[in-house]
């Protein structure tokens, strides 16, 4: 079926801010889809409130709107841009829900706008629990016994009929919010009550518990003609009971026979056909481990996290193909972009094994429960590829960047057997390590399986790794053993530890014995066809396929030719053998002549290091930077090589760089690539802390660091060096000192006077940073920081409460360019990533701005910055202090690029390769302010993480961000709040409870909320203060007092907003914790900083949701 020519202008809806359950995968999908639509000559209008995404770039779409994802906004946008179609299947649940509302309210029909890629009927059939069940019954696809309930009583009745345990799934929520497994009536009532509230339609599915069954997923594609294929199937190592987003997943399935595989495949095709889906779809199954019985768990009628994973695992570009299908193409008309020989109607075949491990945020939320349930908690994930499962698992483990490099990284040896068995039953992020410990103790596979329900095959694979640990410890390390350990992807460091050697010795042994990593291609077809896409993964003991451009052979055919020549001409007895254990990379013979020729034409080669898994503090922004840097290098004539391990991102799409190595970002793994590619340089300043951490190792490998040198990166982190620079430049900073022990820290703190900031150096996202108000706090924080051995000293600084200001600048070694100055709404003390950031800064004087410009220039010059620098200042009156300097890209770069229209990353890239700002057409210095206000609002996922403290402080907690952009500050602020999901007013009831020092400001806030019609509830202290200030406050009892109290009010669901500002210092974790947690879990908005509350009331006073003006970023 040819393209539908009626489609000329398409509105693509993105997924909004990154939250748990809806992350970077939708930037990847949306970006791929937009490029695919533009390739077809269509005009693309893009809507997404998330400014950190690549999809919201003007290179990606023709019209870009970074506006809140609400029905009102989409309606206004449709009226303004007049698209003929809306494509909602690439923006996750957020986009799908919006499309549903627009279809249901008749707006699309009214405006003659078509929904493409899906129909509302399809969405309803897949998403509405009851319709889904009816549809499945109709085609004979089994679902677990279940009932959709709309009240707690109904749920209890049904659960008692089918028996506990039961699983609860609220309809239309992200990442399974509010779901869970209930073993008892009490638990059922608790989860159900919450779930009913969180569901958009007030429905929760109560179903038979199939926990312990195998969890299998299929990714299916279908076109408008009814052709369907499966892209990939995946098996969760963690059986049903853990959300697939939190499970360790392997692709393809490993323990299914062809019977089971095909049974489920056929079922998936039946389902996608019955739902009449045109595009991609994900079907999740529970398969009984001892029969052929199965249940359909869920269908996602859209591109999902799993489809991003399947795309990266197979090389099949699901989003791209889905977009083409939406335009009317059929699968057999769409070329397979990887092989360029086959078509999209071909099912990928893997000749390797893929492992995905979730990145869980428990390092940020120390108080949170680590148990994994049906509610997703992971912020990101890593993927790895190898030709054996053990190797893929080992690579994935070290890709996590959580101080883990093997199955020995979490120590459970102190537990006795009984305790260990008990621990095994706890499903958390360390279960893999507990199983390894159980295997080490000789606990039988069956016993482990009985407790964990994990398939014996996987347990055996863990055992293979444990056996290798033991062999390395006890046997002589010979060539064969080392080769096998490397085949299983043991890092050199681990082998060294086990065998009592140094890492250097292991490396030397490997080199001597020729044990090197070879790279194989992900080609979608198990080598059946020659592929052209340079997407590689490493394998030890294999033939290398990565064609290195300067090695003198241009393509694969020549390689094959060269091989046959050298095999034939020699005496047959000397024919080189290719073997599993012995290394043979094939071609070595390269004539000098060829080498010379290629050298002359040879492009310079640059290694771009990605940022690894998405985690709090290091999000999608760094992928934005890495991708733009890659594109910029490409435009400048460089050959680009990306190394990354995150399957959700744009940077790991196969057509972003000239070459993609899907590998862990450790010195050793990157070293193997460097050995092969011998790049002319590496860029580390765009890949966040992950890339920065590799700087030293890259230099040791002899790879030049492009841009700011490593010594200067160090100078910014090294307290003494940095103080020298500041002194030389005459720039003040809050006084402080460096310490290693708690004793030293207390000494410094007392010298400075409390409060003080305590933090480790070399961290991102303020990890471990705390405000201490007394010696006890210092002791506690030092204890936490020192739990992980610190290579660098800990910093103790005087805490200044002023305005926090941030700039990003590009420096070419002489001149600097500051696109704009950003101001934080919350005063210093709250992590910059968790603060509302306003551009242009509106409450500092012109003189202060000049001071900031001057300091920035001086710092950039003194640190010899070539490329990007990010500086944070504190302004107290007219006094400007520097608090942090990062000679690298930052979280704010994407947003400030977009609102100022200055392409910061491409500019920095050009500067890195030696161009000058003046020659690039820019006037150095602080750039004129834009005509718009832009407000970046942090977005949190607190409701997903049980037990996490939501109060803000110096340690970052937000998972994503959204942007409000408008001509006036108030409207921009309002849009930002709206984008973050704070939709007020509903009931016009609020709770105000503040700490002593905020009481005065609370009165003002109370007055203003009262004026716009809010009823204010407050606990005694706050209520008294409010009353004194003339605010009608209703006093409520504290939660420790008898009912009815504050908690009843919150649980009564009539509250719009809780403003609760906790005490500073360690005690804040305890103060009001229960109130804040319960409010969040009940879906009530909670603000913990007085400044945020002020900003909110300002935006509410001045703006009306119906009168927003929409700004096309592409025109800035």
């Amino acid at each position: 079926m040819p393209k539908n020519n009626a489609i000329k202008k398409v509105l693509v809806i993105g997924s909004g801010p990154i939250v748990i359950g809806q992350a970077a995968e939708f930037d990847y999908a949306g970006t791929q889809a937009c490029r695919s639509l533009k390739e077809e000559g269509l005009e693309v209008v893009l809507l997404n409130s998330n400014p950190a995404t690549i999809m919201t770039d003007k290179d990606i779409a023709d019209h870009v709107y970074i506006e809140p994802l609400t029905v009102e906004v989409v309606e206004q946008l449709i009226l303004k841009e007049k698209p003929d179609s809306v494509l909602p299947t690439l923006g996750g649940q957020a986009a799908l829900n919006l499309a549903m509302e627009l279809e249901e309210n008749g707006f699309l029909k009214e405006q003659g706008v078509a929904l493409i890629g899906t129909t509302s009927e399809t969405i309803r059939k897949a998403e509405d629990r009851l319709e889904f069940k009816t549809t499945m019954e109709k085609i004979g696809e089994p679902c677990a016994a279940s009932l959709v309930v709309e009240s707690v009583e109904e749920g209890v009745r049904f659960a008692e009929e089918i028996g506990y345990p039961v699983v609860l799934r609220p309809a239309y929520t992200l990442g399974g919010s509010g779901g869970g497994i209930a073993q008892t009536r009490e638990k059922l009532m608790e989860i159900l009550e919450n779930g009913l509230r969180l569901s958009r339609v007030g429905q929760v599915l109560v179903e038979r518990c199939i926990a312990g069954w195998k969890e299998i997923e299929y990714e299916v594609m279908r076109d408008g003609k009814g052709n369907c294929i499966t892209v990939c199937n995946m098996e969760n190592i963690d059986p049903v009971g853990v959300h697939t987003g939190d499970s360790i997943v392997v692709a393809p399935s490993q323990t299914l026979g062809d019977k089971e595989y095909q049974m489920l495949r056929t079922s998936a095709l039946n389902i996608i056909s019955e739902l009449n889906i045109t595009g991609g779809c994900n079907v999740q199954y529970a398969l009984h481990p001892e029969t052929f019985e199965y249940c359909v768990i869920e269908v996602n009628p859209r591109v999902s996290r799993s489809s991003a994973l399947a795309s990266k695992a197979t090389g099949y570009p699901i989003a791209k193909v889905a977009a083409k299908i939406a335009l009317g193409y059929t699968l057999d008309e769409i070329k397979n972009a990887v092989t360029k020989k086959t078509y999209a109607s071909f099912e990928p075949m893997l000749d390797y094994c893929v492992v995905k491990i979730p990145r869980l945020p428990f390092d940020k939320f120390i108080s949170a429960k680590r148990t994994l349930t049906t509610q997703m908690k992971a912020t990101g994930e890593v993927m790895s590829i190898c030709d054996n499962f053990e190797g893929a698992l080992m690579k994935a483990i070290r890709s996590l960047e959580q101080h883990v490099d093997s199955l020995m990284s979490y120590d459970f040896s102190h537990l006795d057997e009984e305790e260990l068995l008990e621990e095994l039953a706890v499903v958390d992020d360390t279960r893999l390590w507990k199983i390894a410990e159980a295997v080490r103790r000789g606990i039988s596979y069956e016993a482990i399986h009985r407790i964990t329900k994990i398939d014996l095959w996987f347990i055996d694979k863990i055992a293979v790794l444990v056996e290798m640990e033991q062999k390395l410890e006890s046997s002589q390390l010979d060539k064969e053993l080392l080769g096998e350990a490397k085949r299983l992807e043991f890092p050199d460091g681990v082998i060294a530890r086990l065998s009592g050697k140094t890492e250097g010795q292991i490396r030397d042994m490997r080199r001597r014995w020729g044990i090197t990593a070879a790279y194989r291609m992900v080609d979608t077809c198990a080598a059946e066809f020659a592929a052209e896409t340079p997407y590689y993964y490493s394998v030890f003991g294999s033939e290398n396929e990565a064609v290195v451009t300067d090695a003198g052979y241009g393509n694969e055919d020549e390689t094959a030719e060269a091989l046959s020549v050298c095999y034939k001409k020699d005496d047959p007895a000397k024919v080189p053998a290719i073997s599993g254990s012995e290394q043979d990379t094939g071609v070595t013979a390269v004539s000098g002549e060829d080498k010379e020729n290629t050298d002359m034409e040879r492009k310079k080669k640059v290694l771009v290091l990605g940022s690894g898994p998405i985690r709090i503090g290091q999000g999608i922004e760094f992928d934005f930077c890495s991708v733009h840097c890659t594109w910029a290098f490409s435009k400048e004539g460089y050959e680009t090589i990306i190394v990354n391990n995150n399957p959700e991102t744009v940077s790991t799409d196969f057509d972003i760089a000239d070459k993609l190595y899907f590998e862990p970002l450790t010195p050793e793994d990157v070293g193997h690539i460097v050995d092969l590619e011998e790049p002319d340089g590496a860029v580390v300043q765009f890949g966040g802390q992950t890339a920065i951490k590799l700087t030293e190792s890259l230099m040791k490998m002899g790879v030049p660091i492009l841009g700011t040198s490593a010594e200067n990166v160090d100078a910014a982190e090294d307290r003494e060096l940095f103080d020298e620079i500041l002194e030389k430049c005459g720039i003040p900073r809050p006084s402080g000192g460096t310490v290693f022990t708690a004793g030293e820290a207390k000494e410094v703190a007392n010298r400075l006077g409390y409060p003080v900031l305590v933090r480790p150096s070399y961290v991102l996202g303020g990890q471990g940073m705390q405000i201490a108000i007394n010696d006890r706090d210092v002791e506690e924080f030092m204890g936490i920081i020192n739990r992980i051995a610190q290579d660098h000293p800990i910093l103790v600084d005087k805490y200044l409460q002023g305005k926090e200001i941030e700039v990003d600048a590009v420096c070419d070694g002489e001149d600097i360019l500051i696109p704009g100055i950003m101001e934080h709404i919350e005063r210093a003390g709250i992590h910059s990533g968790d603060s509302i950031s306003v551009y242009p800064a509106k409450s500092i004087s012109e003189k202060t701005k000049r001071t900031i410009e001057d300091y920035t220039r001086k710092l950039a010059q003194s640190l010899h910055v070539i490329g990007l620098i990010n500086i944070q200042f504190i302004v107290c009156g007219e006094q400007v202090y520097v608090i942090e300097v990062n000679p690298r890209s930052s979280r704010t770069v994407p947003y400030i690029s977009k609102v100022t229209g200055i392409p910061i990353v491409p500019l920095a890239t050009k500067v890195i390769i030696g161009r000058k700002l003046r020659d690039l057409g820019y006037t150095p210095g602080l750039q004129p302010e834009a005509d718009y206000f832009a407000v970046k609002m942090p977005v949190f996922s607190f409701e997903k993480i049980r037990g996490a403290d939501i109060s803000l402080g110096p340690e970052m907690k937000s998972t994503g961000e959204c942007l409000g952009i408008a001509r006036t500050f108030d409207e921009a602020l309002y849009k930002a709040f709206l984008g973050a999901g704070i939709r007020l007013p509903k009931y016009k009831n609020m709770i105000l409870t503040v700490r002593e020092e905020d009481k005065e400001e609370a009165v003002e806030i109370g007055q203003r909320f009262q004026k716009i019609g809010y009823r204010i509830f407050a606990t005694k202290g706050t209520a008294d203060a409010l009353k004194r200030g003339g605010v009608k406050a209703n006093m409520v009892r504290k939660i420790e007092q008898e009912s009815p109290n504050l908690m009843d009010l919150i649980l009564g669901h009539k509250i719009d907003l809780v403003i609760d500002t906790p005490q500073q210092g360690a005690d804040r974790a305890r103060d009001g914790f229960v109130i804040r947690r319960n409010a969040i879990e009940t879906g009530v908005n909670v603000l913990t900083a007085i400044d945020t509350a002020k900003a909110l009331i300002t935006s509410l006073e001045n703006t009306d949701i119906r009168k927003l003006t929409l700004v096309d970023i592409a025109e800035i």
Partner: protein, 355 residues
């Protein structure tokens, strides 16, 4: 024990011996299925060939009852890694034990991707698996070049006819090395299936008055089956509906003036898209063939091309003009592979009912 795979171009892969330690010489072909290794091993179409599995982890679920015939057929078996711990609720034993019992020599631990690429670039090659470390390439290479598949159909077909009872249409299944699931697919649809040895005279089959005739898959070069082709021509001349799969499809084409040719490296796997030219629908099919019919060689007044391979445009099926005969190159009986084209058996049933 070490084992060596020696290809006719002189390439040697060193790995570990699995299965029988004896030497074997055969034609080396690769299969890209990720599951279904047991069905592959017991598919009689592999008689005279040694199979490389491109998926690296083989034997994960052990030996289950999913056998497509009573024994293993390939001359040799080549894998990257063979599982030491099979796990499945129907598992009755391990793959290494099965290979030993069936006396199939094999090799594990070699770079199967490198091998596959070599077969893809140079075309299907002959090769040897040996455990003799002192092999002499001077002697072996000429021997490898000489190897030719003999008369594998005679070896793979059943020796005597047998019946699967059913109340529905009576189907005569000509067994050229049939996978069990062909008969099973018909039988499950109610057919009484009488399975005949490959060399049964046409007259005998016609005399039994079947409602339809099924020509099965099978091994080897179709052109060598001269006498069978003769008999098929006679079957064509009757009005009995005929459905043919794989080798059966090729033999019918040869019987009616078509030509077959050897593909460079064949189609073996479970992911090949075939297009039904009548409806334009595309189905993912299970395939296992080294030869194909040259569609251009068929007189269009005799047969029109009904299915084509989306990837390489090779012929995947014919509908015979004025006849109740349709034939496909791929495997609607699946096992292993996708079940998407199973509807063709229903079409055959419709045809028989309409007869």
């Amino acid at each position: 024990m070490k084992a060596f795979l020696i290809l006719e171009d002189g390439t040697v892969f060193t790995g570990t011996s699995i299965g029988s330690p004896r030497d074997m010489v055969s034609e080396i072909v690769f299969n890209t299925s990720m599951t279904g290794y047991l069905e592959v091993l017991t598919d009689p179409s592999y008689a005279g060939q040694a199979v490389v599995m491109t998926y690296p982890l083989i034997g994960n679920y052990g030996i289950t009852p999913d056998m497509e015939s009573d024994r293993a057929w390939p001359d040799g078996y080549i894998v990257r890694e063979i599982s030491r711990m099979p796990s499945n609720f129907r598992c009755q034993g391990s793959l290494p034990d099965f290979l030993c019992r069936q006396d199939i020599p094999g090799i594990a631990g070699i770079d199967t991707r490198s091998l596959t690429k070599r077969l893809r670039e140079k075309g299907t090659m002959n090769g040897m698996i040996t455990t003799n470390e002192n092999y002499d390439l001077h002697e072996i290479l000429p021997e490898l070049k000489r190897y030719q598949i003999g008369d594998p159909v005679s070896e793979a077909t059943c020796k005597e006819q047998y019946v699967l009872p059913g109340d529905g249409p009576k189907v005569a299944l000509l067994d050229f090395g049939a996978k069990k699931n062909i008969a099973r697919s018909l039988n499950q649809r109610g057919c009484e299936v009488r399975v005949y040895p490959a060399h049964t005279p046409a007259e005998e089959i016609i005399a039994a008055n079947p409602d339809g005739i099924m020509l099965s898959n099978g091994p080897g070069n179709p052109e060598t089956n001269v006498s069978i082709i003769e008999e098929i021509r006679k079957l064509y001349d009757t009005d009995i509906p005929i459905f043919a799969i794989c080798l059966g499809h090729q033999l019918m084409a040869l019987a009616k003036g078509g030509k077959t040719y050897k593909l460079k490296y064949g189609h073996r796997g479970g992911n090949h898209p075939v297009k039904d030219l009548e409806t334009g629908r595309v189905y993912i099919s299970s395939q296992n063939h080294g030869y194909a019919v040259d569609a251009a060689s068929m007189d269009p007044s005799v047969a029109r091309e009904a299915f084509v391979n989306v990837n390489d445009g090779t012929n995947e099926g014919f509908a015979y003009e004025g006849k109740k005969i349709f034939t496909v190159q791929f495997h609607p009986e699946a096992c292993p592979g996708p079940q998407d084209t199973g509807y063709l058996f229903d079409r055959f049933l419709e045809m028989m009912k309409g007869a």
